[in-house]
Amino acid sequence: AHELATYCLRLGDDALILSQRLSEWCSRAPDLEEDIALANVALDLLGQARLLLARAAAADPSLVPALPEGSPVPPEDALAFFRDDREFRNACLVELPNGDFAETVGRILVFATYRLSLFQRLTSHPDAVLRAVAAKGVKELTYHRDFAGRWFLTLARGSDESRRRLEAGLARTWAYRHELGEDDEAELVLEQVLATSGIAAPDVRPISTGGRHTEHLSRLLAEMQVVARQHPMGVW
């Protein structure tokens, strides 16, 4: 149960933190259509995070941070808003700042490709809840990957500037890819997208994070958690 819980926590944290980053685009995207699309991706991931954190809390209640006696905060919110950065289990890839639109596209492409491949396998996981999350997620992640893939191609073939930005942004993402685990299938998909777009895989070595977070996560959490932490007895 503990193993299942920490596994769900990892998957949930990835979704939660990337959702938080992507929602920063809201009202700032290059055009209304992308504003809406990025919000969609953020909303899907947020939905995954809620289910996964709730599953983690149910599977191992000892993971849920203690709150004052009588606090009405539900377990998934306690996990999201009352853990410190050291307790988050997400990959560094999702906590990096957004960068420009090209970097965001590159990150969604890499993340969604890996996660889709994983979720496809998870549809036969022994845990029924996780299976259900995966089944729903597969559809969502297919859309995320295709959205990012279309923009990847567009930016690769669009203008010199968009290509330059895409390559630079992808290099930053690429150096954190290894934290998502080994997955030949996902790598194959990425190779295809890159080949179709005429973009070479970035020539960067993996950044050694030592299994720790970057300096960005604590700042992200300072914003994300500020209201919840000010009201540990609050109902929302």
């Binding site: 009202s27 090209a102 930005r165």
Partner: protein, 315 residues
């Protein structure tokens, strides 16, 4: 010269359509002034949706529960969607989104002044839903029957979603009122700040609103500012009672004779000051919009260049 012959007849047809409360469609003949008024009004409405994303949008990152975060993000996304429909409606009259955005950023077109007030606490997310969206709905429900077809149809869809947002806002406040003393104080403080600006959303009093008459004749507007304001007050008072909050108006009370509430007047000097650009957030809202446009310019250019190349390739 041939059009000069036909015009009186077209004008008569146009008038008849409006009188019948039928829709004017983009390809129909319409008076120039009507076209201009429609474009101005729809554009202003579209701009309001887009600028309106900002005050609430900045609280997405700080939403205090995952459920509220999802609700808020979806709501702000809906506003982008509304902007999108409305810009499409102006496009049927040959005015592009880019032109209108330029008009917005340069200050030549306005948006609803309410968004020049800051959102200072999470309670404001609820209050904006309840009072601001509530006032917007009072303004907009009649517009579902407005004479210009694409606008009217957009409004039907928008009003449905706005009512949903309004209920969500009210529900957030209701939930907070069942919470801690601090939460209740947050709600009351927020309502105190938004009540008067919400009343201002119906525009100046009728005797200071010179365009109302023409717009009503054209079926673009169907009620006067003061009528709608009264309706909003009468609707809101029982809701406030249900919530357990008060409005900051000592003159607000039920008038048995009129079967309506008497209420005080907003500070119309403040209203005009904000309209003229000196509100707390006017500069900030436009700067934010401009920054997003500037930052995204290379993306839009790349997309156009890509589309161009695709056309060539498939030609």
């Amino acid at each position: 010269m041939s059009s000069a012959v036909a015009e009186p007849e077209l004008a008569a047809q146009f008038d008849a359509t409006v009188r019948r409360k039928d829709r004017i469609e983009p390809r129909d003949w319409m008076p120039d002034a009507y076209r201009k008024t429609v474009v101005r009004q729809v554009a202003q409405h579209a701009h309001s949706e887009i600028i309106g994303m900002q005050p609430e949008g900045q609280w997405i990152g700080r939403a205090p529960s995952l459920r509220r975060k999802a609700i808020l993000l979806a709501k702000v996304q809906d506003e982008a969607g509304h902007g999108l429909y409305l810009y499409s409606a102006t496009e049927t009259l040959g005015v592009s989104r880019d032109e209108l955005t330029e008009m917005l950023i340069s200050g030549r077109q306005k948006y609803s002044s309410i968004f020049n007030y800051p959102a200072l606490s999470y309670a404001d997310v609820g209050t904006i839903g309840w009072l601001v969206d509530g006032a917007a709905i009072c303004n907009q429900v009649p517009l579902c029957r407005t004479s210009f077809g694409p606008y009217g149809r957009a409004m039907i869809r928008i009003c449905k979603e706005e009512s949903f947002h309004q209920r969500q806002g009210f529900e957030l406040l209701m939930t907070m009122m069942r919470g801690t003393d601090e939460q209740r104080a947050m709600v009351q403080e927020s309502v105190n700040r938004f009540w008067w600006p919400a009343l201002m959303m119906f525009g100046p009093p009728d005797d200071a609103s010179p365009n109302t008459e023409q717009s009503m004749a054209w079926g673009i507007k169907t009620h006067t500012n003061d009528e709608l304001r009264q309706r909003f007050v009468d609707m809101s008072v029982p809701q406030a009672k249900a919530l357990g909050v008060t409005f900051p108006d000592p003159d607000l009370k039920w008038n048995e004779e009129r079967q309506a509430h008497d209420f005080g007047q907003p500070d119309w000097d403040e209203f005009w000051d904000v309209v003229k650009g000196n509100g707390p957030c006017n500069a900030q809202r436009i700067a934010h919009r401009k920054q997003a446009c500037d930052d995204g310019a290379w993306v839009r250019e790349a997309a156009m260049a890509f589309a161009e190349k695709q056309k060539v390739a498939t030609a």
